[in-house]
């Protein structure tokens, strides 16, 4: 039956930041399908100019509350690259340990609080408190651990303060690490429960596939999050982080006016599913087993499965976190006093944020004052792919009617776990 729909979702709920969905169809003919981003501008790249290299992490962290650790790490790596600073193996390990805390915190927040209501057919997590108290309590325990882990290593929950160019201003003690290790071991049963719950609801995820280019850090034989080069499912060639602009190819879309990205195709996707598709063989044992339980296989092109890949990565974060605690404890914690003499230079830094690959670039003068910046955010890289998914999905689901089409489009946006405040750190977009 030819369908007419008029979907106009103003400020989609249960995502970070502001996005709109517009679909218009008359008698089965699709007139308009758009993913719009009307977030307020913040102009970070302009604001950091003139600030000391010692202030950059503090500012960059404020691009995003949920990914403040990875924005901090990308900024610090870029600064260190610009100034030729080498860090100790201890610093490297503690940073990766901190990065995992954000993966656990962010993924559990997204899957447990933002996506679960869709799978259970309720408008928010609030009704689940009484209908599914055990599930909610499990999610709370996992999320709390992610946060307290972040606080222990980063000095605070959200906007870490311990990370500095050259090393750490505050290090965990060996007792801290032993305590953390115990808590990480202790959360494994909850993660298994979460995986079982998600597996039991996986049938609620739409069966939609669209062949997609996925981009993530690669660094065999590890599941790359912090070190590596830029990889793609479309090529075996990898690109050094310092050339990230040649991968993201930012451009202004005449349709959305938000800067989009493309490499080998019209768009690409980043995030947990992209990382899984490029690095699945390097997952830790329990994470690999969790992927099996959840039916997630390398080469998956169903964007709704990104939330499932996040569950796998939550397990990976805990398992690798335990390993890092062991390595740090075996080596023993050495005090650090990072002292950096500024010098002129330019450098790029890259890490995998929970939502995908994240790039920062800064240039500094001889006094260490920032002269220019360029920041490329995962959600910005996903906007174009969300649009192309919309265009493929709408014709398939239109016969199911307005309400169902709208529900599936909202779920699709949420699956990408967009962080729109991040992605529009400098864009000001208005629509008719």
């Amino acid at each position: 039956m030819p369908e007419s729909v008029d979907i106009n979702v103003h400020h989609i709920t249960r995502v970070e930041g502001h996005g709109n969905i517009v679909v218009k169809a008359n008698d089965g003919t699709i007139k308009k399908v758009e993913w719009q981003v009307p977030e307020a501008p913040r102009f970070f790249e302009a604001m950091v100019r003139g600030r000391s290299f010692m202030d950059i992490q503090t500012i960059a962290s404020r691009i995003c509350g949920i990914c403040s650790v990875t924005h901090s790490l990308a900024a610090i790596k870029a600064i260190e690259s610009a100034m030729g600073i080498q860090v100790s193996e201890q610093t490297d390990r503690v940073r990766r340990l901190l990065q995992h805390s954000e993966q656990l915190e962010s993924h559990s927040l997204h899957v447990g609080y933002l996506v679960a209501p869709d799978l259970l057919g309720v408008p928010s997590v609030v009704p689940l408190v009484s209908s599914h108290p055990d599930v909610v309590k499990t999610v709370i325990r996992i999320h709390r651990l992610g946060n307290e882990w972040m606080e222990l290593i980063g000095g605070r929950m959200t906007h870490p303060v311990s990370i500095r160019p050259g090393g750490f201003g505050m290090l965990p003690t060996e007792d801290d690490l032993r305590g953390l290790r115990e808590r990480l071991e202790g959360i494994v049963p909850d993660l298994k429960t979460l995986a079982e719950v998600v597996a039991s609801l996986a049938g609620e995820l739409p069966d939609f596939e669209r062949e997609t280019e996925y981009i993530a850090l690669v660094n065999p034989p590890e599941y790359a999050l912090y070190h590596g080069e830029i990889g793609s499912t479309d090529t075996n060639r990898t690109v050094p982080v310092d050339q990230f602009e040649s991968v993201v190819n930012e451009y202004v879309s005449p349709q959305s006016t938000s800067k989009w990205t493309r490499w080998h195709r019209d768009s690409f996707a980043v995030g947990a599913l992209a990382r899984f598709n490029l690095n699945a063989e390097y997952l830790t044992p329990l994470a690999a087993e969790t992927a099996k339980t959840l039916g997630l296989q390398k080469g998956c092109c169903n964007p709704y499965m990104n939330s499932v890949a996040q569950v796998v990565e939550a397990v990976q974060a805990v398992e690798d976190g335990i390993q890092l605690c062991d390595e740090l404890l075996e080596a023993g914690i050495e005090p650090e006093k990072p002292q950096v003499e500024p010098r002129a230079g330019e450098g790029a830094g890259c890490v995998e944020a929970p939502r995908g690959i994240l790039f920062h670039r800064y240039a500094f003068d001889e006094n260490g004052l920032c002269t220019s910046a360029n920041i490329c955010i995962p959600t910005g890289q996903n906007h174009g792919n969300i649009q192309h998914d919309f265009e493929a999905l709408v014709p398939q689901v239109l016969p199911s009617g307005q309400e169902e089409t709208e529900r599936l489009l909202k779920m699709l946006v949420r699956a990408y776990d967009p962080c729109i405040s991040c992605s529009t750190h400098y864009l000001d977009v208005r629509f008719e």
């Binding site: 400020h11 709920t13 249960r14 995502v15 970070e16 930041g17 307020a40 501008p41 913040r42 102009f43 790249e45 302009a46 604001m47 950091v48 100019r49 003139g50 600030r51 202030d55 503090t58 500012i59 404020r62 691009i63 995003c64 509350g65 949920i66 403040s68 927040l109 609080y113 933002l114 209501p117 408008p123 928010s124 997590v125 609030v126 408190v129 709370i140 999320h143 709390r144 946060n147 980063g154 000095g155 605070r156 929950m157 959200t158 906007h159 870490p160 303060v161 311990s162 500095r164 750490f168 201003g169 505050m170 202004v252 006016t257 405040s421 991040c422 400098y426 000001d428 977009v429 208005r430």
Partner: protein
């Protein structure tokens, strides 16, 4: 007595303060036993324009956002600013240190003249509407947030410290950042965060704004003692406490 209805709104920010509400975990369940959240876009699909308390996160950076904030003010009995972006403008005010047209050109290059790329000076919430209560910090402290919301729900005056962060470092036994040769804004910044930054390996960068009556002479004495200048301190203060007017426009 029915529970006060609470609505949460975000403007230009990182949404890290809303995240602190989520980070309350089980305590959030206690909080919703005294107030009823009716609108919270980041966490709920429900929406209701009938509310008693409006919680405002983020800075105001566009004329249309001023209109939106005024409409919220009209509907709410109590309006609360959450976090540095709303209370003092925060890092978003760094933009105000540049000439606006130049900021746009820096980011957009040749496209800067397109009419839809307009932006305005960054404002804190109280530069647009009357604010009844402030939850300071970047991000705000979740314990202080709970205290303030519970106080408002019970019709009590919340207790917000008026002394500087230095007091809390002394209480914690944290080594003074000046001993490391670093400029710390704890001397003039309002306490209430329990000084996590100086103990976490960094200096205080002033995210809670000035203490109500900052001891400027004491700050001068500290600068002198450590061979630093007031200009050094002022430069650091720009990070979260830039003024409304641009300096070189």
């Amino acid at each position: 007595m029915s529970k006060p209805k609470v609505a949460i709104f975000d403007f230009a920010c990182c949404e890290g303060c809303q995240l602190q509400i989520v980070n309350l975990e089980e305590e959030l369940l206690d909080l919703i036993s005294v107030v009823q959240p009716v609108t919270w876009r980041e966490a709920m699909s429900e929406k209701d324009d009938d509310y008693d308390i409006a919680l405002i996160e983020g800075s105001i950076t566009r004329p249309e956002d001023e209109e939106r904030l005024r409409a919220i003010r009209d509907r709410a009995d109590i309006l609360v600013a959450l976090g540095a972006c709303a209370t003092i403008g925060g890092v978003n005010k760094l933009k105000n240190n540049f000439e606006l047209d130049e900021v746009k050109r820096c980011v957009y290059g040749d496209a800067a003249d397109m009419p839809h790329l307009d932006t305005a000076m960054t404002k804190g919430a109280d530069e647009v509407v009357e604010v009844d209560c402030y939850v300071h910090g970047c991000p705000m402290d979740k314990k202080e947030f709970t205290h303030i919301v519970k106080s408002l729900a019970l019709g009590k005056e919340p207790v917000i410290p008026d002394y500087p962060v230095c007091v809390e470092c002394k209480q914690r036994g944290t080594i003074c950042r000046y001993e490391y040769g670093e400029i710390c804004l704890g001397v003039v910044t309002r306490a209430g965060c329990n000084a996590p930054c100086p103990s976490g390996g960094l200096w205080c960068f002033g995210c809670r704004g000035y203490a109500p009556e900052p001891n400027v002479q004491a700050a001068r004495d500290v600068m002198e003692e450590y061979d630093l200048t007031v200009e050094d301190l002022q430069s650091k203060l720009k990070l979260f406490n830039s003024k409304q007017e641009p300096t070189n426009a």
